[in-house]
């Protein structure tokens, strides 16, 4: 007896309501962009400069006390958040304190850190500072720039690769799905205001990779079926291909999610935001490769005459013999 997440030989019609799916995606994109422009992202110090201090104390944390201890130091915008994690011991109370970049200084001076430490020791004498990270405005500006470049480069590279291996319509479909995923991920970070730092960019690019992975597998089957069923309508070919690969799509998503969820729950709070981005990305990526990429491909149409060789008529890799 085998575990089957997807029934055998599904014949579901994925394009019966194309407007609904495009509508849902469009709505989510509008929401994401709206939130992004209205309240922006909760940028971490990597992107806007400043200092974060992670403190640990055996005493319960009263954020207000911490705050009032820091007010006399006049450090400008100070955010204090208590961190909760199932991995912590009962007497492990952790906070993250974020201090804005100080005027006229690149990284924070040891002096400021010392002042903060002394001030907090009056509130919680046993407090320890497990990490202190400080990024100057000069670097953070550059980090934003490189991050944007990285994402754009990845999308461009992928566009070119798929264009070479398939047809331009496929490339457009794949890139539409990618842009969709990236926007929705940035959107969810904006809506929930999870801290957006350098690691999230890594997550974004992984989502790009993952979503693509899914899309390419479907497209590969579409290409194969286009050759096999020359007379079949494009919509039917797409439906057939998605159904044939559905079992694999779900299997891979589930194994990946299994791994990610265990990391989300057990991996500690430091990378939780990062893992959250990836979980979201896997879900959205799986959805988009079926509903966005394929729908775009359907709307754009595909050259069906495979008898005439064209110079970029996507070649299959030669068989690798093992």
């Amino acid at each position: 007896m085998r575990l089957r997440l997807v029934p055998k030989d599904t014949k579901w019609d994925f394009f019966s309501r194309p407007l609904m799916w495009l509508g849902i995606s469009g709505l989510l994109i509008v929401l994401s962009l709206g939130s992004f422009f209205a309240q922006g992202l909760n940028f971490g110090i990597d992107f806007r400069g400043g200092t974060t201090i992670r403190t640990e104390s055996a005493q319960a944390v009263v954020v207000a006390d911490y705050r009032s201890a820091l007010v006399p130091l006049e450090l400008g915008d100070v955010t204090i958040t208590e961190v909760f994690d199932p991995n912590f011991d009962a007497d492990e109370h952790v906070t993250m304190i974020r201090i804005q970049a100080q005027d006229g200084q690149e990284a924070v001076t040891a002096d400021v850190v010392r002042k903060v430490q002394t001030a907090l020791q009056t509130v919680a004498p046993d407090i320890s500072f497990v990490s202190v990270e400080s990024v100057g405005p000069k670097v953070s500006g550059e980090l934003i720039q490189t991050a944007v470049i990285a994402v754009l480069l990845a999308i461009a590279a992928v566009l070119i690769y798929i264009w070479l291996r398939f047809e331009w319509q496929f490339a457009m479909g794949a890139v539409a799905a990618l842009v969709h995923d990236v926007i929705l991920t940035i959107g969810v970070f904006s809506v929930v205001q999870i801290r957006f730092d350098l690691a999230i960019i890594a997550a974004l690019l992984t989502i790009v990779g993952y979503s693509l992975n899914d899309t390419v597998v479907v497209f590969d089957r579409v290409r194969e079926n286009l050759r096999k069923y020359k007379k079949l309508e494009l919509k039917e070919v797409l439906n057939l291909s998605i159904n044939e690969t559905l079992s694999r799509t779900v299997m891979t998503s589930v194994t990946t999610l299994l791994a990610l969820i265990s990391l989300f729950v057990l991996g500690g709070d430091v990378i939780r935001g990062f893992v959250f981005a990836m979980i979201w990305g896997v879900v959205v990526g799986t959805y988009s490769s079926i509903f966005v990429a394929s729908t775009v491909l359907l709307k754009l149409g595909v050259k069906r005459d495979w008898s005439k060789p064209s110079n970029n008529s996507g070649n299959q890799f030669a068989n690798i013999d093992a």
Partner: protein, 553 residues
């Protein structure tokens, strides 16, 4: 059909065995680390203190490279410093003044008297009292220009001489600035490396980034502030002529001079010439020692050019004081008693023994040629790193077991084969990471966990394909063969695209992001290898043994 040549089988198993062997030391991390440290110490000639026993904890013939743990896992300090390369322009151009002065003085007949004018920091402005003959002065000073010492700018000269009204303006040429920048950063890099080595910490990373930045990562150090102290922000040593001594820090020092405080005498300020006689760059050695009164001191020696300059100066200025200046403070200002010819001397001050030792270390490691501005500082406590490792390990194991069980439930025997391949896969990732000496970071662990999830993808593609082929009522052998053949294109396309994004992450990312890109990229390579070679080989071997009439995937 379903045949694999013997040599290929041997090769596949050999690659797996080699990768797993390379990964093995990581399973005994602490033991191997102790062994490596002890072996290194023994090679340096140390002995005793249980070093031999520690070295014997891991056999020498076994591979002993480990995956480096990143700062976020081990704890330590991270600094990104920008070298203030412009500092050097000032020192360079100001140091030309004595030479220019002597040259122009000889021509007093034609150009009249000369006078140094206040100017921007990176130029020399000289007023000539007979401006009609300034052309002559310009020509003379141009004669001082030397070719730039860099291949990229062959033929260019190092200074630009211009006239501005009755003033002569000397600046560094662009080519010289570029060459100076390059030298300054290289020198700063080297000095930082030596200073950190003097302290003797484990595996520091000191890397140049971009044109003028230096990344410094030192695991196991208490804080970034401590690290900054070791590097010392601007430890510059100069020996300068003293013009006067006073107690007013705001007095007008006169053009070309500056006022510096005394290091150990409160309220005492010296007026010294900005152009030093000799700089710390020309020191070849410095040792802690004692003066004739048995007080701690530092003795030093100059290189030949430094010794000559120092000798000439002391010969000409017997009876006048000169200052030993460290980091903008006058350490001492002794009066020159005699011509010091040997190029060696002694710095006395009110040092403790420890201070003189530190000063000697500082001098020996050389002064930083320019100031550093710290753009990024991170301190990660060791306990946070330990927690992260612990959490990462548990998450990895749970993810691993989850995926193994799930694969077995879904594909039965074939799932088992995929699981063996998955285990080999994770082993290979660690083996590769150890081999290339990559650094494992927290996002790197996430990359591995993600790979565990995604690695089965290639196998899933194949198995699903075999299922489909079985439905078209071919024999099992044919179905397996076709499954692999037809899934290959999708596997390669899917993984190449993911690999492209990993490569881009590696190229433009930094720090933890790069760590993630490495594990993701390696994970893609190993998972493709295990899926199309290892699992296939296992399936083929199983098929040959059993010869099943029907198979269920």
């Amino acid at each position: 059909m379903l045949q694999i040549d013997l040599w290929k089988r041997v090769l596949i198993w050999a690659v797996c065995a080699f990768g797993l062997l390379m990964a093995l030391p990581n399973a005994f991390y602490e033991r191997v680390e102790a062994h490596n440290d002890a072996t290194a110490a023994l090679e340096l000639g140390y002995s005793g203190n249980g070093l031999e026993e520690q070295a014997a904890m891991w056999p020498n013939w076994m591979p002993s490279s480990l995956v480096n743990l990143g700062l976020d896992l081990r704890g330590g300090a991270h600094l990104l410093a920008e070298v203030q390369v412009e500092d050097v322009y000032e020192a360079r151009i100001k140091s030309m003044w004595p030479e220019v002065r002597d040259l122009l003085r000889e021509e007093r007949g034609t150009i009249g008297t000369i006078r140094l004018q206040p100017s921007d920091v990176d130029e020399l402005r000289i007023k000539v009292s007979q401006p009609e003959n300034i052309g002559r002065a310009e020509e003379l000073v141009r004669g001082l220009a030397r070719p730039v010492a860099s291949l990229a700018a062959a033929g260019a000269s190092d200074i630009v001489v211009d006239t501005d009204g009755g003033e002569l303006v000397i600046t560094l040429s662009e080519a010289e600035k570029l060459a100076t920048d390059e030298r300054t950063v290289q020198q700063a890099l080297e000095i930082i490396r030596r200073r950190i080595d003097e302290v003797g910490t484990r595996e520091p990373t000191i890397q140049r980034q971009g044109a003028d930045r230096i990344l410094i990562q030192v695991p196991g150090i208490g804080s970034a502030a401590e690290l900054k102290e070791i590097i010392g922000t601007t430890a510059q040593l100069t020996f300068s002529p003293v013009i006067g001594r006073g107690s007013n820090p705001d007095a007008n020092p006169g053009v070309g001079n500056e006022i510096l405080p005394s290091l150990d005498e409160e309220g005492v300020y010296y007026t010294i010439e900005s152009a030093p006689v000799v700089t710390g760059e020309e020191l070849v050695d410095a040792q802690p020692s004692f003066d004739q009164n048995n007080r701690p001191a530092v003795s030093f020696r100059f290189n030949p050019t430094g010794a000559r300059k120092f000798g000439n100066y002391t010969a000409e200025n017997i009876g006048s004081p000169f200052a030993i200046v460290l980091d903008g403070e006058v350490v001492s200002a002794p009066v020159i008693q005699a011509h010091i010819s040997g190029g060696s001397g002694i710095i006395t001050g009110r040092f403790s023994v420890e201070e003189s030792t530190n000063l000697a270390v500082l001098l020996r490691a050389g002064a930083l040629p320019a100031g550093l501005e710290f753009l990024e500082e991170r301190t990660i406590g060791p306990e946070l790193g330990q927690d992260s490792i612990e959490a990462g390990r548990i998450a990895c194991i749970v993810a691993f077991v989850g995926v193994l069980v799930f694969m077995f439930l879904s594909y039965g025997t074939f799932g088992l084969f995929a699981n063996i391949a998955l285990i080999i896969n994770v082993g290979l990732i660690f083996g590769l990471l150890s081999m290339i000496g990559a650094t494992l970071t927290l996002p790197g662990i996430a990359g591995i966990v993600l790979t565990i999830g995604m690695a089965v993808d290639a196998n899933v593609l194949v198995f699903e394909r075999i299922r489909e082929e079985l439905q078209s009522a071919k024999g099992p052998a044919r179905a397996i063969d076709l499954g692999y053949e037809k899934a290959l294109s999708a596997i390669l396309d899917a993984n190449i695209t993911t690999f492209i994004t990993a490569a881009i992450l590696f190229a433009v990312g930094s720090g933890p992001v790069r760590g993630f890109a490495i594990t993701l990229g390696l994970g893609i390579m190993t998972s493709v290898f295990t899926a199309i070679f290892v699992t296939r080989l296992i399936v083929v071997i199983w098929f040959e043994r059993r010869r099943p009439k029907t198979i269920e995937v």
